[in-house]
């Protein structure tokens, strides 16, 4: 395979732009190892909270046609077990280890500060802050809280499309000192079963992911790319190498996949990279950086 290495930051270079997004298989070191061995250039853990969370009752997800909906109720082992998982992941990967990104979730700036303090000793390669809701002040506060307790660890803030001026939100986050922006998280959605006269998920609403949200993700990524100077980690509906190229052209430096593991299993990584390589060759691109933001150049 060609050299597709991607520089996220000066001291964080990935072997390719394709990574595992947060929430998919991300509660198990074994599954993270599997994703890595299947070709992911970095893996992201499930969103971790301070304490273990059992999560929601079934049903927690479904394929509704153009995409997926999931609400697992943020089930995760809690930040202390996650620290242990990171160690195990690195041990199991040995020489072939790849960067591990830790996605963290809290409800307040204080909670984020505490989570950051507890995970910092494990030195994740990136801390991804899952904003509980998009709010410029909150984003700033959380960013400050995290940076104090996890200094030296690069930070990305993950945002979703339910914000009217997403470029502006990204700018605020950049100004607060974030090293990257991750976009987009799943969209809030609801599946109703008319015969049951009930929402299908036990929690009512859930997160929409998969093909349905790809153009929304592309829009947000391109707005963010135009607003900030830090790299964008793009996610949302990527299933093919061409989807990945589109994301990068809209402005993503690296691209995460989640729902693709439903559509194509762990084989998604090699399939997407093969398609991406074919595209790069046929179009005569030499390096991945040529693609980033190309539609705006």
């Amino acid at each position: 395979m060609s050299n597709f290495s991607c520089k996220l930051f000066d001291n964080l270079i990935l072997k390719s732009p394709l990574i595992l997004a947060s929430g998919i298989s991300g509660n198990s070191d074994g599954l993270l190892v599997r994703a890595a061995k299947s070709g992911a250039a970095a893996v992201t853990t499930k969103g971790v909270t301070l304490k273990y969370q059992k999560g929601a009752e079934n049903p927690v997800s479904t394929d509704w046609g153009p995409g997926l909906i999931t609400n697992l109720g943020l089930s995760n082992p809690g930040i202390e077990s996650m620290a242990y998982m990171i160690k195990t992941f690195r041990n199991e990967m040995g020489d072939q280890t790849i960067p591990i990104f830790v996605n963290i979730h809290g409800e307040s700036a204080e909670e984020y500060a505490e989570i950051a303090r507890l995970i910092a000793p494990s030195h994740p390669d990136l801390l991804e802050i899952d904003l509980p809701f998009p709010d410029e002040t909150l984003a700033r506060e959380i960013r400050h809280a995290v940076i104090e307790n996890a200094s030296g660890i690069p930070i990305s803030v993950k945002i979703s499309a339910d914000y009217p001026k997403i470029g502006q939100l990204a700018k605020v986050i950049e100004d607060a000192g974030a090293d990257a922006i991750s976009a987009i998280n799943s969209m809030k959605g609801l599946i109703v079963d008319a015969y049951a006269a009930k929402p299908f998920l036990s929690s009512g609403s859930g997160g929409i992911s998969g093909p349905a949200i790809k153009p929304i993700a592309l829009y947000c990524i391109s707005e963010i790319y135009q607003a900030v100077n830090i790299p964008v980690i793009g996610t949302g509906g990527v299933l093919t190498g061409l989807d990945m190229a589109e994301m990068m052209m809209a402005g993503a430096t690296i691209v995460g996949v989640g729902s693709a593991l439903y559509y194509s299993g762990y084989g998604a990584f090699s399939q997407i990279m093969n398609e991406f390589e074919t595209f790069m060759k046929s179009e005569g691109y030499q390096s991945t950086s040529e693609l980033v933001g190309k539609i705006w150049r």
């Binding site: 998919i24 994703a35 299947s38 079934n58 997800s61 697992l72 089930s75 015969y195 009930k198 036990s202």
Partner: protein, 263 residues
Amino acid sequence: MEKTILNKEKRSHVFTIDRIRHENEMTSSLIMKESLEGEPGQFLLLWLPGVGEKPFSIAGTDPLVVTVADVGKLTHEIHTLQPGDRVWIRGPFGQGYQAYGTDALLVGGGYGASPLLFLAETLIEKGTRVQVFLGARTKDLLILKDQFEELPLKIYITTNDGSCGIQGFVTVPLEESIRNLPDPQDACVYACGPKGMLIGIDALCEKYNIARQLSWEAIMRCGMGLCGNCKIEMPDTWDEPSDKPGSKKAWLVCRDGPTSFTK
């Protein structure tokens, strides 16, 4: 030019119970009015709105049959249903059993037998010679015995307490039958039941170098290969496929399984 409306088939559909067959004091089969395409060994997700959604093996497709043991919240609620009541079903999901060889040895532990009747019928139709081994703690926990007895196959029953058939574990008559196989290379063991039983059968098959397809259980949440909740570690005897690196220690029952195939 009418556009294709996007397929919604992956979503739950309403099924109506036509008849209920009582298998034993804690197990009943729901026989639906509708059918569902699927293979033996695959599973579906059954939802009762307001109660929950859980995986069950496909025990027949035309009409759809689901055999349910009353063990907890959802399954208890299912046992209160009557003909004419509705259930919501999506699927099929997962990898089913594949026909392999001339002789088939089907082993079911408890309600683990539920997909095996459907499998037996499918294999017999293909001309495979079928033997069935049903094991349970006690007579009352055996299921589908009468149904199997109507098929052209050999059937062995074991109970731990000897209340029916041979006393002991199902592996005893199974080993006997393996030994008597005309050609163990041209045969396959199909098993479904508790994890301990599967591990025992796997070891036995390894000893005689015979192919086996085992159907694993795990607590499922998403059922879609995303949450990782159904992850199990496969036995040492299982060869990790080269296109699924890392799967041996992180095998997803909902997606890689529920059946594994060791040749």
